[in-house]
């Protein structure tokens, strides 16, 4: 799941300051789960925009804003999109770009995109994967230090953790403590002794 948070409404209004006619596109996958772009949020956005003097031409909720077949497929959902002078996408950055890829009018995003996370055991998890293109998560018992250690350290923790909590944010566990516990649980502490090569950052 892509983790997003809604920008403050004032910031969205400022993005749209030169726009009068707006078409709103939500996203019925990640953003809907996170309440940053599902149907109730889209309807609320339309209401607030109207209240602020904007003209909302219409709205639609594709299955996934990041998976848009063509502009015609959006017209099929709501033909009013043909009359708009701009589009506001309530999805992640990928959703905004997917719409922009098929639209001829300016496209704006209403959210900040934070990380690739998930939801597990009733908890929302942020920053679970950095999509590095070279997955070595199995060597760390299923927890990725590239994404969950702010320094992305691959060979063990830095010296900054205090009582198992991260130097960068004392409210977060040091992922290396979690990796240790996990490897102990699955009887693979031997993996801690592997010297890992650096991540290769070639253009993907």
């Amino acid at each position: 799941m892509i983790i997003t948070s809604a920008k403050p409404f004032e910031e969205i209004l400022s993005l749209l300051k030169n726009e009068d006619d707006i078409f709103v596109i939500g996203c019925n996958v990640c953003a809907a789960k996170l309440k940053t772009g599902g149907e109730p949020e889209v309807i609320e956005m339309c209401r607030r925009l109207e209240e602020s003097g904007k003209h909302v031409v219409g709205w639609t909720l594709p299955t996934a804003a990041c998976s848009i077949r063509s502009f015609e497929s959006l017209v099929e959902k709501n033909e009013k999109i043909n009359d708009t002078s701009c589009i506001l996408v309530m999805g992640c950055g990928s959703g905004v770009s997917s719409v922009a890829n098929v639209a001829e009018v300016p496209v704006y995003g209403s959210n900040d995109t934070l990380s690739l996370g998930g939801s597990s055991g009733g908890k929302l998890l942020s920053q679970q994967c950095v999509m590095c293109g070279n997955c070595t998560i199995s060597e760390y018992g299923g927890l990725c230090p590239k994404s969950q250690c702010p320094k992305g350290l691959l060979n063990g923790p830095c010296g900054g953790a205090v009582n198992g909590m991260c130097e960068v944010n004392r409210e977060n566990n040091c992922v290396w403590s979690l990796i240790y516990e996990r490897l102990k649980k699955i009887k693979r502490l031997d993996l801690l002794y592997v010297v890992h090569a650096p991540q290769e950052h070639g253009f993907k």
């Binding site: 320094k151 992305g152 350290l153 063990g156 923790p157 830095c158 205090v162 130097e167 010297v195 650096p198």
Partner: protein, 292 residues
């Protein structure tokens, strides 16, 4: 006669190194003056690399200034601000300018310092960084290209000293395996803990230089116990500091007693005063260390 830090490291001499910060600005006279207090008593001077993520003059430039003044610098270098290209080019430059000792570390996160929004690099971690230096030492770069003149660095790495911290010990083991010539530790207050630490790494055969930060007040000890990873000021010392009529003198006395114990346990000490080295010469003489 021993000439340089590497030779001293390979000898049986008890080593003294000390930390000096480059200036925050282009005026380096105060920092050089601080280093002058160490002349004749420190075997080498550690030059910090934007410590605590607070922007200062580069450790490379200040190491060269120290070299010109007749000091032997140990240039610290962190993984925070440079990718593998930047690290290698700085190392080649440092070697060409005569810098022979380096000490590598991960580096505090930028959000700890005075440019909290700067991009953290950490292209390599400290273990991989050691591997990189060993490649430069063998005449090739990290990508395997041949160099027109390689390096030959005496290379240190850092470690905490809590023997209970398995992950830290495993990382230290990797550092030793990847060719660290010496290990410089976090500040030692609990000599018993340090002794246990030394026992737990005795199989590594890497010289260990024990860190030392003289206490200046009870508040400082309390702050470090709470906020600095790997620092453990024992209760007994807390009481000594609490009861002291002159806390700075008491801190120096405690540190000098610690040094006396450390001469039996480590290859040397590394003095990191908070502030200047004004009291360092006296601290060493209180500990019975005569200097070079």
């Amino acid at each position: 006669m021993l000439f340089n830090f590497r030779e001293k490291l390979n000898s049986s001499k008890f080593l003294v190194t000390a930390e000096v910060s480059p200036p925050k600005g282009t005026n380096f006279s105060v920092s050089l003056e601080d280093a002058r207090q160490l002349k004749g008593i420190a075997d080498a001077i550690n030059v910090t690399d934007n410590q605590c993520s607070i922007m200062h003059m580069s450790s490379l430039a200040f190491s060269k200034l120290l070299l010109d003044e007749g000091h032997e610098p140990i240039m610290q270098l962190t993984c925070r601000d440079r990718n593998r290209i930047g690290l290698q080019s700085d190392l080649l430059g440092a070697y060409a300018l005569g810098i022979r000792n380096i000490c590598l570390m991960t580096g505090d996160f930028p959000s700890c310092g005075d440019h909290p929004g700067s991009k953290p690099v950490y292209d390599l971690d400290s273990v991989q960084f050691l591997q990189l230096v060993r490649k430069l030492d063998s005449g090739i770069d990290f990508a395997g290209n041949e160099l027109d003149g390689g390096t030959s660095f005496c290379t240190g790495a850092v470690s905490g000293i809590d023997p209970e911290k398995t992950l830290q010990l495993i990382k230290l083991e990797k550092k030793a395996k990847c060719g660290a010539d010496f290990i410089q530790t976090q500040a030692v207050y609990d000599v018993g803990m340090f002794e246990e630490f030394m026992e737990s790494i005795s199989h590594l055969e890497v010289p260990v230089i024990a860190g030392l930060i003289p206490l200046k007040s009870l508040g400082m000890a309390e702050y470090m116990n709470k906020n600095i990873s790997g620092i453990n000021v024992p209760e007994e010392i807390m009481i000594q500091m609490k009861d002291a009529s002159n806390p700075i003198e008491e801190g120096l006395f405690i540190a000098s007693e610690t040094i006396k114990e450390l001469t039996k346990l480590s290859r040397g000490i590394h003095v990191m005063p908070i502030g200047s080295h004004k009291n360092t010469p006296r601290l060493l003489s209180m500990a019975g260390i005569s200097g070079k």
